[in-house]
Every structure is written in structure tokens, then in C-alpha cells.
Amino acid sequence: MAVTEERLFGKAIKRREDPRFITGRGQYVDDVKLPGMTYAAFVRSPHPHARIKKVDAAAAKKLPGVLAVYTGVEMQVGGLPCGWMLPDIRVPVRPVLAQGKVRYVGEPVAIVVAETPFAAKDGAEAVRVQYEALPGVADGKKAHAPGAPQLFDEIATNQCFHWTIGDKAAADAAFASAATVVSQPLVNQRLIPNAIEPRACVASFAPATGDLTLWVTSQNPHVHRLLMAAFVLAIPETKMRVISPDVGGGFGSKIFVYNEEVAVSWAAKTLGRPVKWTAERRESFLNDAHGRDHVTEAEMAFDREGKITGLRVKTHANLGAYLSTFAPLIPSYLYGPLLSGVYKIPAIFCEVWGMLTNTAPVDAYRGAGRPEATYLLERIVDRAARQLRLDPAELRRRNFIPPFTDGTPYQTPVAFAYDSGDYEPALRRALELAGYEQARREQAAGRQKGRHLGIGLSTYIEACGPAPSAVAGSLGAGAGLWESGQVRVHPAGSVTVYTGSHSHGQGHETTFAQVVADQLGIPMEQVEIVHGDTAQIPFGMGTYGSRSACVGGSAIVRCLDKIKEKGRRIAAHLLEASEQDLDFKDGAWSVRGSPDRKKAWGEVALMAYLAHNIPQGMEPGLEATSFYDPVNFTFPFGAHVAIVEVDVETGAVKLLKYVAVDDVGRVINPMIVDGMVHGGIAQGVGQALWEHGVYADDGQLLSATMLDYAMPKADGLPSYTTDRTVTPSPINPLGVKGAGETGTIASTPAVANAVIDALAPFGVVHLDLPLTPQKIWKAVAAAKR
């Protein structure tokens, strides 16, 4: 059960994968080279909403090097499936290539295949498409209004679903008797993911066997195979192999099945030659699933002591023009249940309208629903502190859920039962590291001299490793949420681990090897981690929702338990001792009380395969498979503090200091956790200050290049101060919780609260994200008038 020997667990071991990445030896999808390779380019809609009158590919087909042009007319395959259903949801058909109509800028209309990528691009430019432009709508709330342009005849008012959680009557009662009500409309703006490696795929079809091999930038190759084989291409899963080699970031955007990999697979089969497509950055902006995009009205009720008594939330979630693979899940079950945060809130009611608009589909983006909930909660709590004239730290302390670390979960009014938590120490530590009291004094002194410092807090909850599968199924999941692991011991004692998790930057080759090497008492060099290939690993669910350590890691631990159990029986047999009398330590089984009588790991492994002398009836070999289905999510938490300075003359914000104290349970590799926290903070700061996927009212994307869409840059960020408290999760054998998304979830509200705090002398109580200089300047200028 527990880790037997911890030589490596908790150590900041350098990532084993990094030497190949930093020396340019990584093998990404675009590095795949096959004989006879051809290249695809897509003809995409320039219109947010239009009828396709005619597609004329004659000129394109005549260009040198162009092999074929296919449109939705030729490519008759199933639509892209949606993997999560909500009650009464209306799911529009999402064609691989547009059928008669286009509904967002960038929607694929045709695929051109050519001998070179240049020729393919020339061909795509030469395809003439006649459109009849239709009015479009980009805003989720406006799409709901009477008279708004309709995307689908069969989906009235563009509403995909209306979803609620919580007890409306109880929430209404709380507001009726509240001493104070704090209301705040807020926008959680659209973000565009921008992994460093653009999405890419290579498809190769073998006519002799009928086997289709797809290399694709995927966070979950088996999910890709299942959805594509069973729902789109209608081929047996045995005839399709999906390989995701090294993947350069995803942030969620590489979970989903997209038009391009389906079209490329179909084209490869039809043409009888391998086809490669690698997204240009502009295509990534247009067609990778976007994130966030909520328009919300929130109100919070308080009693006379400043205790929260109720929360009501109404959100219009913009889902884009079609439902991406897990689109309905994000603004429902990954959003509403987070609304209790780290606070004891007796009554919560949340309703969400899932809306279709003429924009790129929206799905999970780092945090996926949880940043939206956390931003809402942390912003309104801060807003309340101002209204109640309380220090924001004090208001949070008053409302924290009391510590629960004995394995008894805390039940919120919005479905979740938190596994373990102790929230006050993280806040105390963060305030200490930030020098909170001193910072407040500097702020007061600065204001006298026209220097505007702001201090922002964020105390957050995160939910990792969505589980268990049966509950997910009852809530609409089209997939289980367990994970697979397989451990294969080789005769000389080295170990290959096959995991259903799939790293796209998380460092599994290091962390999983640390766990395995520790538990077996062997060097890390004896452990190989294999992932990302459906022909090698058992069916697995992949990496998202910060689930790899807590779910994928636990599956591996279960395998190790089985391996060690069999090893113990072999060792006992060889030592002629009772199994109960054996200790396993430093890679050897020894007889308790006579440490000289022992069998090393390697001897036992070899005997398992020689099978010359193993217990009667025992099968030879030493390997185990496990499918681990957790009983619950894990719930990391923490407290972040941001200190900013605002130049009120220009509205420019400078982030001066950032403190993050996270509790992610037990930590396998602190360097890797720090790396994820650092990256996450940068991404969250990006949302607070810079990033915005801007659509014009009619659906034209205005921020479609790196010249327009402001990604976080190193020179806009300070050196972070990070620390941790450790509250192990009681629900998995490693005691881990998850660290992949905490930074993104916590930092956006911390920075936003800091900026609004800086503007307090001007009476500014709220501004919507991102907090651009112009918005701040306008607010300050309005206050001065």
C-alpha cells in the first residue's frame, strides 16, 4: 500500500526527458518521415457564418504537385462526436468538412493534398469557394436574445443546454435574510491555448492489411482511437493504431478529436499514400479549441458577522459553433461544483446556459471550468471585503471550511465531497512570505505620494483526477475516468512501465520512474516508461485534469503491489521461509531476524522467467496490469498573493511580487511541481493582464496572430516565491493530489484583485479581464472627472 522505501520520492531529480528536448532530439509528429509522404492544407472559411454556394477546385487540381482536393461532398464520414451529454442537451452535427454552411472563421471547407507543403498551400489558395454571407453572432449572451442569428435551424435560440446545480430555494432564502448582498456581473474572457508545438498529424494506410496508423498530437491516444474508429470512420479499433510521440504542450487543446486528423486519415486511405498536416500558427488560432468565455452575474449573501450565507450564479457559457469533444462538461460539472471554493457556504445555486455562437469551439483549457469558478468566487469575495470594510485576508479566514484531515470528507452543497483540507496555514504562510502587513503599510505610504500599489489574494480549491467512472457516467460522461498501468519485469530485473497517462510536458518519464524505482528498490536507470502508443499500452484515458499522478500513478502502484506479491511468494519459496516472515527492503527480500538469508530482486525476477523453481501451480513470468478507478477527485488548494504597481497615468500594470503557497498533497518531484506552478502562474497572469481572443460582434477573429494576441513574456513576470503545505490525499496510495493547473487557477484572481486593490483610491470596484492599460486608464480618468 504505502511506499516502502523512499530514496527518490520527494527528490528534485532532473527530468530524464529534458536532454533530448533541449538538444533538439525530441521526436514530435512533424518529425515523422515516411516514404511517399504527401502534405495536406485546408481551405478554411473566411466568414463567421455563410452558405456555401459552390466550391470550384478545377484550377487547384491543375497546379503542379497537387494530388487531390476533397470537400464535404466527397468525404462522407460521421460527424465529430461529443463525449459528454447533459440532460436535454441539443447536440448539433459537426461535420469534418463543412456541409452546405460554415459557422465560424477557420472552419475547414476542403482539404488539398499535394507532393509538398508549398504545393498544398498553393492548391488551397486556388480553390474558389462562393459564399453567401449570413449575419453572425459572437457573444454567448447576445446569441440568446430574440432575433439573434440562428446557427442551426433545429436548435432554437442557439441554446444547447440549460444546466443547474444546487438548491435554489435554499439560496433564495439565504438572500432574503441576508445582512449584506454583494453583486457583480463579470466576464471571463475567451483565451486561445497556443501550445508551443502546433497540432499535427500523419496518417498512413496499409492496403495489404487494412491497417490505419495515425500519428497525432494527442493527450489521450486511446480516446482519439476510440472516437475516430467507432464514431467517425466506422472501422474496428483493431485496424487503427494511434501514436502520440513527444508532445510539446497541450493545455487541454490536444485532448479533442478535430476535423484535421479525420480528414487526413480519410485522405491517406483514399489516396493510398501517407499524408501529413502540421498546423500553421494562424490555423491554431482559428481552429484549436479555445478556453473560458463566460458572461456571468454573481451575487453573494452575508450575515452580520461577515459569514457567507449564500451564492447565486447565472452564467452564459459560449461553446462556439459546434460542441468540441468535452465542451458541455467544462461549464457544468467542472464549474458549478467548484463554487464553494475553500469556503463554508450553506446555500449555492448556479445555472448555466450553454450557447452556440459563430466562433471557434470552446473546450477544456488549463483548469477547464475551475479557473472560471475560482475567478468568480475570489473576485466577489474581494469585492465583498471592500463593501464590508474588512481586510480581504480576514474575510477569507472567517469563511474557511475548518480543517478536515482525518479522512472524513467535507460535503459541499454543490456535489463535491472534498478529500482533505486545511486552508488557514497556506494563507498564513503566503501572507508571511509576501510580507503582507509591511506591504499594506507601503501601500498606504505610496498612496500619499501618488504611487499606486495593489495587493491581491486568492485562496483556491482545485479538483483533480475526475472520478469515479460510475458517477461520471451518471453525469453524462461518454468515457470512464480510470487509468491503466502495466508493469512488465524483464528476466534480468529491469522494468518497463506502460501507462495510459500521456505526457505532453509533465515529466512522467521521470516521476513515474521515481515511484517505481523506489517501490522496487532498483535504480531509476532500470525503469523505462512507455506511453502514447495504442499498440503498446493497455487502453488508457490519457492526461488532463491534473490526473496523471493521482490516477495514472496509482494504477502503476497497484501493478507494483501485484508484482511484489508474486515476487514475495517466489522469494519465500526459494528461501524456504514463510511469506509473512519476509521483509522487502533495498531491492531484496530477507527473512526477518536473519538478514543474511535473502533473495535480491534480480534473482527473483530471473527465477520467475526461468521457472525452474517456483511455487507449484504458479504461472511463470512477472508482470501485472491494473485499471485503477479512484473513489473520488482529489482537492488541492492554496493561497496566492500578488503585488502590483499601477501607473495610473498610462494604465500600465507591473507585477512586482508573486507568492504561491500550494498544497498538492505529497510531492513526487518538487522541481517538476515548481515548474508546473511557475508555468501555470504565467498563464494565469496572462489571462489577468494580456490574453484575449477577440471576436468582432459578427464573429470575425481579430486576434489571430502572435502580433495581436499577447502571450505572457518573461520580462513581464517577477521571480516567484513558492512554498507548499502538505496535506496528503487519503483517497490514493501515493497521497498525491495534482499540481498541473493550480497556478493557472489561482493566479488570475490574485492579480486581478491586486489591480483592483491598487485602484481603490479611485473608487474602482471591478474591471473585466484582461486588465489592459486602456481599461484602467479609462476607469481612473472617469473617477477623476
Binding site: K121, M706, Y709
Partner: protein, 289 residues
């Protein structure tokens, strides 16, 4: 990512480059670093049939002093200017401008001539050229001619260079003792181009009275322009905070301020005034005022 097909030419002399240009005319673009042209070609916004790379042309690169001015070859990179001891000694503001263009990769490849010939409305160099009173040296089939910077920037990405000419050098006068100059910009959060950039240069006499001022604004409008109202308001004055503030108020006059995602006309005009004030204040300080 994948530009349309083009022919690549790499002449080694200005003469050969001009001959090619004369032959290929509008179907050719001059490549002078490529940090604007190549991305445009990759987005297929520009599809020239021919690229004439000036990288191997002799004599187009380098910085030398000549009669109280710096003569900077058109193909001199931003980094070479940023790092040049001569520049730092004679016209230090040029090193300052160069040092905040884009990022190191851009500065290592991009060139002064490429930038002022491309005339991006948000580029940094045009403000400095206008404020300092630079001259552009062009070479064509009929020989050399010099264009004063005030006549150079004609409109959006348009300059006075003729279709059969190449910008070969930029001549920047060194201002006399008692002068100071500064460039301040509000960078675009994504591109790092200037949302607004202001270059200010002043000469003060022994009494601290401003005898000459050059102030120019880039970023806000369709082309960089001199803020002549500001210059007039500075000249003849003792430049205390109030005088600078008053002069800076005229910074947006004559700028055809364009609204975009970064700001409204009102906001950008405000930034012109703020950055004029800041640049002038720093220039005065550097002038010893």
C-alpha cells in the same frame, strides 16, 4: 508558414542589385533582414516573384563618422547599432532605440535601412530619425541622392524611395554639446512594436534655455510624424516641468491617430502626450538641464 514560390537573388554590389531591380521592377522586393517581409510572405500577404537579398552587397553595412554626423549603412543591424561605441559616444539615443526593438533575435537580423524603408507605422526608428533630423541616402540608376527625413515618410508603409532605387545609408547628425535625447515607448503587449513611441531631442544653452528641439511620434498614426507644435513650444523656453507639460500637450496634434484593439483615439492621443512629456523630461536631463 509556406510562402508562395519566388526567385532568390543575392547580388554582391549595389550596381548589380540596381540592375536586378531595374529588370524585375515591381515583381521584386528588397530583402534587408526580413523581419517584416518574411512573416508577411509566410502569411501570403506579400507574394513577390523575386527577392533581392542585400545581405551580400558590399559597403551597405557599418557605422562611420563623417562631418559631424554618423553615416550608418542601411544593412547595419539593430544590434550593431545598439552595441556600437561610436553610436554611444556621438548619438547615444540611437543605441537606446535599437536596444528596445523587438527581441534579441529580431535585433540580430533586422536592419536600420530595412526598418526605415519598410516604414511600419509602429516601428521605433522613424521617431528617432525625425526627431534628430536624419537624411536618407538613396542610390539609383542615375547615382546618389539625399532625401531629408521630413520628406521621407510619405504615408502608411510608403516612403520617398523610388521603385528603381535602393536606400543605402542613413546620415544622422550628432547634436552639439548641451544636447540630450531620449526615446520612450509604450510597447504593444504582443508585438513589442510601439503603441506610441516618442523621441525627443533638445539643445540647451548655458542659461538652460532650449535653442533647438526635435520631437517625433510613432505608433499612433498611419506614419511617424514630427510634433512641430511641441518643438515650437519648447524652443526658447527654460524647460522646467511646467514648460514640458505644456509643450507635451500638443504631442498628438498633426497625428492621424488610429483606433485599434490597443486603444481608442482618445487613449492613444493621451499616450502621445504622456510619452512626449516623459521623453522630453529625460532628454532635458541628459542635456544637463
Amino acid at each position: 508558414m509556406y510562402p508562395a514560390a519566388f526567385e532568390y537573388h543575392a547580388p554582391t554590389s549595389v550596381k548589380d542589385a540596381l540592375r536586378l531591380l531595374g529588370k524585375l521592377k515591381d515583381d521584386a522586393k528588397l530583402l534587408a533582414g526580413g523581419h517584416s517581409l518574411i512573416p508577411m510572405m509566410k502569411l501570403r500577404l506579400a507574394q513577390p516573384g523575386h527577392l533581392i537579398d542585400l545581405k551580400k552587397v558590399k559597403g551597405l553595412s557599418g557605422i562611420k563618422e563623417e562631418k559631424g554626423a554618423l553615416v550608418i549603412g542601411a544593412m547595419t543591424t539593430h544590434w550593431e547599432i545598439e552595441a556600437s561605441k561610436t553610436v554611444k559616444a556621438k548619438v547615444p539615443v540611437l543605441a537606446e532605440v535599437a536596444g528596445i526593438i523587438g527581441d534579441p533575435a529580431v535585433r540580430n537580423k533586422g536592419t536600420l535601412g530595412g526598418s526605415v524603408a519598410h516604414a511600419d507605422p509602429a516601428a521605433d526608428w522613424p521617431a528617432a530619425m525625425l526627431a534628430l533630423g536624419a537624411e536618407m541616402v538613396c542610390e539609383g540608376p542615375k547615382g546618389k541622392r539625399t532625401v531629408k527625413v521630413d520628406d521621407w515618410f510619405v504615408g502608411l508603409m510608403t516612403t520617398a524611395v523610388k521603385g528603381n532605387e535602393i536606400l543605402t545609408a542613413v546620415r544622422v547628425p550628432a547634436w552639439p554639446a548641451g544636447s540630450g535625447a531620449a526615446y520612450m515607448k509604450f510597447p504593444h503587449p504582443a508585438s513589442r512594436f510601439a503603441v506610441v513611441g516618442v523621441c525627443a531631442a533638445v539643445t540647451l544653452d548655458k542659461q538652460g534655455v532650449c535653442t533647438r528641439a526635435g520631437v517625433a511620434v510613432t505608433g499612433a498614426g498611419t506614419k511617424a510624424v514630427r510634433a512641430k507644435g511641441v518643438e515650437a513650444a519648447l524652443t526658447g523656453k527654460t524647460l522646467d516641468a511646467a514648460a514640458i507639460e505644456a509643450a507635451a500637450q500638443k504631442a498628438a496634434q498633426g497625428v492621424d491617430v488610429q483606433a485599434d484593439l490597443q486603444g481608442s483615439v482618445e487613449y492613444k492621443a493621451h499616450l502621445c502626450r504622456v510619452f512626449a512629456k516623459r521623453a522630453i523630461t529625460e532628454a532635458v536631463k541628459r542635456a544637463g538641464g
